[in-house]
């Protein structure tokens, strides 16, 4: 399938090269801020640990 100078596959690959890091870093910082806020309310080491997710990364 062609579109413009490259294939649609090329275009999608370029979108993912930008989009996957952008989406991933956005939610990374969302998780960081959530932990930061929890630690700010209860500023003990234990609270930082408790704010950590308990799920495995599973990848």
């Amino acid at each position: 399938m062609k579109k413009g100078d490259g294939t649609v596959a090329d275009e999608i690959t370029r979108l993912l090269q930008r989009g996957v890091p952008d989406v991933s870093w956005y939610y990374h910082f969302s998780g960081l801020v959530r932990t930061w806020d929890a630690a700010s309310v209860h500023p003990s080491t234990e609270s930082v640990r408790a704010a950590n997710v308990r799920d495995e990364a599973y990848i």
């Binding site: 399938m1 294939t7 649609v8 596959a9 999608i12 690959t13 979108l15 993912l16 090269q17 989009g19 996957v20 890091p21 952008d22 989406v23 991933s24 870093w25 956005y26 939610y27 990374h28 910082f29 969302s30 998780g31 960081l32 801020v33 959530r34 932990t35 930061w36 630690a39 930082v48 640990r49 704010a51 950590n52 997710v53 308990r54 799920d55 495995e56 990364a57 599973y58 990848i59």
Partner: protein, 215 residues
Amino acid sequence: MQHARGAYLVLINDNTISASDLLARHWNVHQNRGDIRQCVPGDFRFPAAAQERALTRFLTQSPFFFPQPTLRAGEYWEYAYVVTCNSSVKRDALLAAGSFDARFRVAEDSDLGARLSHKRFSVRYVPEAQAIHAHLPFTVADLIRRATAYGANQLAFLRKHPTLLAGGETFFGMLDHEAADEWRALLNEKKQEIESLAATLTRIDAVDFVRCFSR
């Protein structure tokens, strides 16, 4: 780690499927080298079916999650290359470095890698030690869940390894209120754009990439 009794450890995920000669490949690397201060990651790649979806197709070619897709055989000094999806290390050396920190449910290998790096461990990538990453499907929702989990872990990780803040040169700043305000501002500014982008990626990822998009 406390229960392992072998001289060497092979560290794998619960979704790692080893090649039949994986243990022999790891063993050979350690036997051919005198310095025990090395961590030996092998290859780790998605199965062929990953090509059917745009996201996993991208991840097979990108080092965004794991360094192996673009790594060449050889010795490195980068702590982030300590990935325990398919790696071996001398047990005594690992225990001497403090083993794994059980507080970390994610990035436990990066934490270990940072400590091994301080002890001048190298990372010797051996692509012949092959394993399959049996983790399909992996969707955009999984990507978001993974990123959120790693982000939640980041504060404890960087507080444990403050030298990684590089004196405030990264976007993590000095992990202070000023940095937190910048993170919040960025999240507010980008919210709509990222949600839209995630929705677009989700739609693209819903179709068979090979059948719909490939030449």
